[in-house]
């Protein structure tokens, strides 16, 4: 028996759990030794022998000096955000996260998505102030220095623009990478002071039902947030993945409202006013009130609802040869912890449960994996997530019935068409291994 035959029989004995080659999520974990044994016996998985090894040029001399601030390998310079308004014309600027080029769950700080409406302010942290006033017992001002002495909490949370995935409202599938389709969400570890800690100091007048949060940016962006959230998990975040916030993400302090639409997580926060009614600011009056079929609109959408998408493989990649691949992606929910992700390779006819990479944090990215053996034939990959509050990611048909779709195909992936898409993303793979965005 030759080596390639022995290996083939090893892979074929893995149990398929759903159509078109999906394998049990535990398969390779429990069979790791058997597979390793097969590989050690001889040639590579493709059957062709590897080249003999020799020293490469970079191994033969002293490398470069270690810099004070590390930057990425020059071979990774394509891993960048896409900008919607690179010349800073007088309108909103967007920078989208390249999810198809990342892995794990934490978005590196330079790649965290940004939306900003009138440029990033250059804030002197020593002069910045946060004031809390309105329906409180005693209005108070806090400096960054003083805030840094308060008890801190650290948590992982995604932040997602209320209009992320807007091109998915197109009546025809838009051919674009995940960065275009879902790039306005990122996930970071945030450290800061709970807003409830500061409100304890100012006191709360029982008439307060909302608070208005205002930024120190040029347009002093303002949003109204229910007091319920203030006393739950709202945070004044000072650190992002261990370092001070990036300027585009709100330096030196931002409001973090885990699971609530990005725009409400007011950056550069300078003022919190407790009030008895929502202010109906520009952004809640207009942009973040999605129109639904029939002409009515939702107001106060608040939550980014449960969602998932496959990052590997995805649009822009191609499968070079039949055989083993790992399907992996991101799932998250603004209403809880990811409970389950199901993956299909046959356009939703059959589904296999994905393995969830722990720890599975609430209101944070969870990465999922499914082992897959691609036969070389057509396949449609889909993922669907559930959270522990009993919410499930809607199928496209039911989502479109409730929320609508555009009348004409979307051609500008950087535009906004309604808000808050949390249905399924499907990747169609043809016999050449090319990947297209499809609706299934």
């Amino acid at each position: 028996m030759n080596d390639s035959k022995r290996r083939t029989s090893g892979l074929e004995s893995l149990p398929p759990v759903a159509g078109n080659g999906l394998l049990d999520r535990r398969a390779l974990l429990s069979r790791g030794i058997a597979i390793a044994g097969a590989t050690a016996a001889g040639a590579s998985l493709t059957g062709a022998a590897a080249e003999p090894l020799k020293d490469d040029p970079w191994s033969g001399h002293q490398g470069s000096n270690v810099p004070e601030l590390e930057t990425r390998s020059r071979y990774e310079d394509k891993v960048k955000r896409i900008l919607s308004n690179p010349n800073g014309e007088p309108r909103t600027q967007h920078a989208r996260t390249p999810h198809h080029m990342l892995n794990g769950t934490i978005t590196p700080n330079p790649l965290h998505f940004v939306i900003i409406h009138n440029g990033t302010p250059d804030i002197d942290p020593d002069k910045h102030r946060l004031v809390i006033h309105g329906l409180v017992k005693q209005p108070m001002v806090f400096t960054l220095d003083k805030l840094a002495r308060y008890p801190m909490v650290t948590r992982t949370a995604f932040v997602e623009c209320g209009g992320n995935s807007s091109p998915m409202f197109s009546n025809q599938p838009v051919q674009a990478t995940l960065q275009h389709l879902h790039g306005l969400v990122s996930n970071a570890e945030w450290t800061g002071v709970l807003l409830s800690t500061l409100l304890e100091e100012t006191g709360i007048d029982p008439k307060a039902k909302w608070f208005v949060a205002e930024g120190a940016d040029t347009a002093t962006l303002t949003r109204s947030i229910p007091m319920q959230k203030a006393l739950d998990d709202a945070m004044i975040a000072l650190y992002q993945n261990g370092e001070r916030l990036m300027p585009g993400n709100g330096y030196p302090m931002r409001l973090l409202l885990p699971g609530f639409e990005g725009n409400m997580n007011v950056k550069f926060i300078r003022r919190i006013k407790l009030v008895d009614q929502p202010a109906m600011t520009y952004y809640e009056a207009r942009n973040y009130s999605p129109i639904i079929p029939g002409g009515k609109a939702y107001k106060f959408y608040f939550h980014n609802e449960v969602k998932s998408f496959i990052t590997h493989p995805s649009f822009g990649m191609s499968l070079k040869e039949p055989g083993y691949y790992e399907i992996s992606g991101i799932a998250y929910s603004g209403t809880g912890r990811i409970d389950k992700v199901m993956v299909s390779a046959d356009g939703g006819t059959s589904w296999a449960e994905a393995a969830l990479q722990g720890p599975v944090n609430p209101k944070a990215f969870t990465r999922f994996h499914v082992p897959w053996r691609w036969s070389g034939g057509p396949a449609v990959l889909m993922s669907r997530a559930w959270d522990d509050s009993g919410n499930r990611q809607p199928l496209r048909q039911e989502f479109v019935a409730a929320r609508g779709e555009t009348l004409k195909p979307v051609t500008n992936t950087l535009g906004f068409y309604s808000q808050h898409y949390n249905s399924i993303t499907s990747w169609g793979i043809d016999a050449k291994g090319e990947i297209k965005h499809v609706y299934a």
Binding site: P139, M140, E200, T222, V275, Q277, Y298, F302, G404, T406
Partner: protein
């Protein structure tokens, strides 16, 4: 009879609030406040406190009319982004008869066909306009621009004066067309 009932409701509200505050204290594990905030008076917050509420709370003194607003619109360069007569340019139209009906979810949300509260207009102009130099307009200029846009959209009369009393009374046509998505979170 109504007074004791009101009192007892207030007591319940206070109790509920006190228990949630106690919860907040537990989160910190301190059981007391840190006390590093610096007291400040509302008077010293005035320069920042420009949020207007839909019922008119915090609208400043002053007033303006549409004809005064047309002058401000020309003088302050609003036309550069919003076009002649507010009909739109590289930024959104301020004056439009576009309808929501029949346009699907892509419908242009205009001040006339979408915005629920007239106060939003005053608040946003005052805090964010003109784009290159926000918060440089006087309150009278903001009232005048608000009147100009409302009158051009035929939401008030040409001669109507907008001030702290009249502005909140302007009825916006789409105000009852909203559904609160998550009422249990409010």
């Amino acid at each position: 009879m109504s007074t004791p009932k009101k009192l007892s409701l207030a007591a319940v509200a206070l109790l509920a609030l006190t228990s949630s505050m106690a919860l907040a204290a537990d989160k910190n594990g301190l059981g007391e406040s840190v006390g590093l905030g610096q007291p400040i008076t509302e008077n010293d917050i005035k320069a920042w406190d420009i949020t207007v509420l839909p019922d008119g709370t915090n609208l400043p003194p002053g007033s303006g009319t549409a004809s005064e607003g047309a002058k401000v619109y020309a003088e302050k360069g609003c036309v550069a982004c919003h076009g002649e007569g507010g009909k739109g340019g590289r930024s959104a139209a301020l004056v439009s008869d576009l309808k929501l009906e029949g346009a699907g979810i892509e419908a242009a949300k205009t001040i006339k066909n979408f915005w629920a509260n007239s106060t939003t207009l005053f608040d946003y102009i005052r805090r964010a306009m003109p784009w290159p130099s926000p918060r440089t307009l006087s309150d009278n200029e903001v009232y005048a621009l608000t009147a100009y846009i409302l009158a051009s959209n035929k939401l008030i009369g040409e001669g109507d004066t907008m001030d702290a009393k009249t502005l909140p009374q302007v009825k916006m046509p789409n105000r009852d067309n909203f559904i609160i998505k998550f009422p249990d979170k409010i």
